[in-house]
Amino acid sequence: MRAQLRSELLKQRSTRTNLGLLAAMLGLVLFVELLHGVGLATGHLDARSEQLVTFGRGEFLGVLFAALLGALSITSEIRHGTIRPTFLVTPRRGGVVAAKVAVSMLLGAGAGLAASASAAAIGAAALGLRGIDVQLDGGDYLLLVAGGAAAAALWAAIGVGIGAVVRSQVPTVVGISAWLLFVEGVLAGDALDLGVSRFAPGAAAAAISGQDPGTLLAPALGAVLLAVYAAAVTAAGWLATTRRDVV
């Protein structure tokens, strides 16, 4: 297992893909925090809950990019065919999936940490420039950053699981992006008011970092729920990889 972990870490380091993802993510964090921090009217920024949501954009971007990073860790191998030598060297394929989940969670946590921390820092700086008081205390910041890292780590595992089940790179990436960027939003704003949106995995991730406590689950509950999602999806990915023939 240690051998597989070291191999997966090297695979992640030895292409420019992750650097590109990291740069895109941080660029979007900068963009959204400046846009909101500078552009929104004071009346939309001075309350604590509004500041939590604005700074929480970092959590969202961390989650999105961590999920993509996890998904690419397996779909990229399938797309380029390196999955064949990988499984020839480690024919007990479950070990490869486990190593990909572990390494993706580690890198995903890093991405979540970077996105959440930079969002909070840029957001606070933007508010400061406009002379708006930041209402958040140390506990809020801790939850934003640590929760953002935890949410991104769990979503990275979900990404590996989805990638292992779907296998094809484009549908995997489009599916994850469509879910997080579109479906969750539709659920949250659903006219039928089914009240299920806060149990969705993207909303659970936002709950972990303490955003919007009125609508979302409590952070601990969000963490447990997202962990259950991650366990279920990675189990599906593990089963799919160990049971199906290698393409």
Binding site: H80, T82, L88, D245
Partner: protein, 264 residues
Amino acid sequence: MSTDGTAARRGRDLYRRPLRKPPEGSPGYPAVSVHSLTKRYGGLTAVDDLSFSLSAGTITGFLGPNGAGKTTTLRLILGLAEPTSGEALVFGRRYEELDQPARRVGAVLESNDFHPGRSGRDHLRALALAAALPSARVGQVLELVELDAPASRRVHTYSLGMRQRLGLAAALLGDPQLLVLDEPANGLDPAGVHWLRTFLRRFAASGGTVLVSSHVLAEVAQTVDQVVIIDRGHLIASARLDELAGRGHSLEATYLQLTTRGAS
């Protein structure tokens, strides 16, 4: 209670290693043995009740027209696909049961199984790490396939011949006893084919076993000791090369006759 500790240990050893399997590496142990191997995909039978075995130290050409089931058979042997029935064993075990498969078997199934943005050296390093092989092996196999100079370049800058050699380097990382190559000469220029032939002969001369598939007999005729010919998943012939040629026809004519029989 028995006080004979030796007998107890022997009992445990027997339990660990079933009797029907002779000790690994013993003489006469087939490098590859395929028994009634069958693989169906839905209604299509890709491999149909196929049986053959390869003794160690030989080069075997695995021949058949396109779509005969060669690649599927190799994938079954290498544990990448699960047989519908029958079994394929490598050194007496299923591939996934080998302790350190990279040290026993090296395989190249496609000529381009690389991430284009990763260097040749990093591709090999990742595999060496996963197989827990000493990192020095990476430099050694790069030298062996004459890729040490461009090893730090990203694979997308490599020519087809360089990619073929990088694939071979990956297969050789664990210094295996068996090499399995699927259509390795595809797309190689004459110099590349010559290099490959020389390489395989040297590998076999040092005691290695080679299973090399091709749909063109002429590609492998000068290299192999024996051939296994399949068509539509069935075994057509399994013979030493000189036996095949001894029937009074040219090798190519015999091969064509065997693989087009019954075709309409």
